[in-house]
Amino acid sequence: MDKLSRYLRGPLTLVVLIVIARYFFPNKMTFLVEITTFSIYIIANDILYGYMGMVSFGQPFYLGVGAYASAIYLAHIGNNILVAIALALLMGLIAGLILGPAFIRLRGDYFALINAATCAMGLFLVEKILYPITRGDDGLWYRSRMHATPLLDLRKPDQFFWFAMIVLFVVMIWYTWLDRSAMGASFRAIKVNENKMKFLGYDTFKIRWTGYTLMCILAALAGSMYAINYGFVNPSITEPARAAEVLVATLLGGAGSVYGPFFGTFAFLGLKDLVSTFVSRWELAVGVLTIIVCFKFSGGVWGTIQTIGAKIRSRGKASAQSAT
């Protein structure tokens, strides 16, 4: 029982905090859903970057895989939202399994670059080549085609909010579990010394492949949630220019930690919201922000919170000792 609560405590606190925020700031609900979805997307990237140390400049591609899988299904084939989500997860899995073996063999720099190239490819696909299916820049609109789902009607924003909370809760439990499992440890071990991992008898290729595929599935899940929440999808979701957002948010939160992605998303979207009221162009702000984070706050928001927490605790301990 005690063990179970260790995995539930963190995620539960997080979800409860968001729900409280929703009732205190009712007009910020869209923003909270955005944070939830985006943080799943960032968790996906954190598995790749924070845990395994692989930088990808093409994350929007994987988001797009999920978004378009759901959107194409809803716009052309069926009406069931849950099937659309399942389909997105399946496409994420397929993308990971197929692209994985080709990509993860590459050196770190090539990996980053080929992802960027893939992302640009994806954009071109949905803009031009698949025009008959994706309607190019006009995007796909299918809100009216979505049928109500049992229990929670995902077409209604306030009910989608609860759905997003459930998804976040499940993902966070899973992510906490991953962090403590043998898999999570091997991800982190591969990051610093793949050689030693091989000489401990692990098949590092398979471990990387697994991590990469997980990333694809999670990113596709986030994409699918975007698609359903907005009721339309256009190619801007896979724009390579947005690859930076993902890295910035990951770094901002503190790479390779359980709560980093969430806090990173919160900080990033919050700052973007603030900045966009003053500056109309986000590139300059995002660029400057990343450089500051890179050089000054290498631990990110979560890392800083942890350091401060540790300081307070040690001071508490010290004062307790001096009292006795």
Binding site: S181, R188, A189, N193, L200
Partner: protein, 253 residues
């Protein structure tokens, strides 16, 4: 005593361009013995154990383990057969805790074939792993560092950890590549202490360039010179061998 060779090579040769790093080496390692290979820098010792551990494939010759030809087996598969090695420079996972380092090493041994899905559903804190890791940590006096991040530890502790990572999975053969290199006197003493305690019933191959540190615990001693093993036998006879004296002492003193 009836001993059988655990690890054996026949005519193993490795070239780098024109340079013959390892030249037709025949060698065997018996069960439960500690064998030291000494030789000056550049004698081909490290290349030789790189061949044994599956880092390189030799151009000629064969490597056998328990009578099976493992010449072209990958490093990971050799580990599964119980052939473990350490590196000259300390190789540990700096971003993990001491406990995680050890449990990762033991997890592989416990599962033997770490099926990827299984790795998800296994916690490294499970009792089966924890007890064994705890035992090893106590043996090597690492238990007080259990939850420390390895990157923050001094070099001596890291080296002890690396040894622990090897012992924890109870390997059939351990190959140590210059276990004393880069360490201070104090740290060397620590490592030798560890060896004294745990080395006797294990099959071990040790590489060093100085004989002085090995003499006390090796059963047999081999001397490598210019890619060849020029002599192999018990310590005393090896050191008194005329060819060894000619090739080696001349360089040592």
């Amino acid at each position: 005593m009836d001993k059988k060779p655990v690890l054996m090579t026949q005519g193993v040769t490795k070239r780098f361009g024109d340079f013959v790093a390892v030249d037709r080496v025949d060698f065997d390692l018996q069960e439960k013995e500690t064998l030291g290979i000494i030789g000056p820098n550049g004698a081909g010792k490290t290349t030789f154990i790189n061949i044994l551990s599956g880092f390189y494939n030799p151009e000629e010759g064969h490597v056998f383990h328990d009578g099976k030809d493992i010449t072209h087996l990958s490093a990971a598969n050799r580990v599964k057969m119980g052939i473990l090695r350490t590196f000259q420079l300390v190789h540990v996972f700096d971003n993990l805790t001491v406990y995680e380092n050890l449990s990762l090493s033991y997890f592989r041994k416990k599962e033997n074939k770490p099926f990827t899905l299984k790795m998800f559903f296994s916690s490294l804190r499970q009792p089966g792993i924890a007890s064994r890791v705890q035992e090893t940590m106590e043996m090597l006096e690492l238990d007080h560092l259990k939850d420390e991040i390895v990157g923050n530890l001094p070099l001596g502790s890291k080296k002890r950890l690396e040894l622990a990572m090897t012992f924890v999975s109870d390997p059939a053969v351990v190959i140590f590549d210059e276990p004393f290199s880069g360490l201070g006197d104090q740290e060397i003493e620590e490592v030798i202490d560890v060896f004294r305690k745990y080395i006797h019933d294990k099959t071990i191959l040790l590489i060093e360039h100085k004989v002085s540190k090995l003499e006390e615990f090796v059963d047999r001693l081999a001397v490598m010179h210019e890619g060849r093993i020029i002599c192999c036998g018990d310590c005393e006879s090896t050191l008194n061998d005329p060819e060894v004296r000619r090739c080696y002492w001349k360089l040592e003193t």
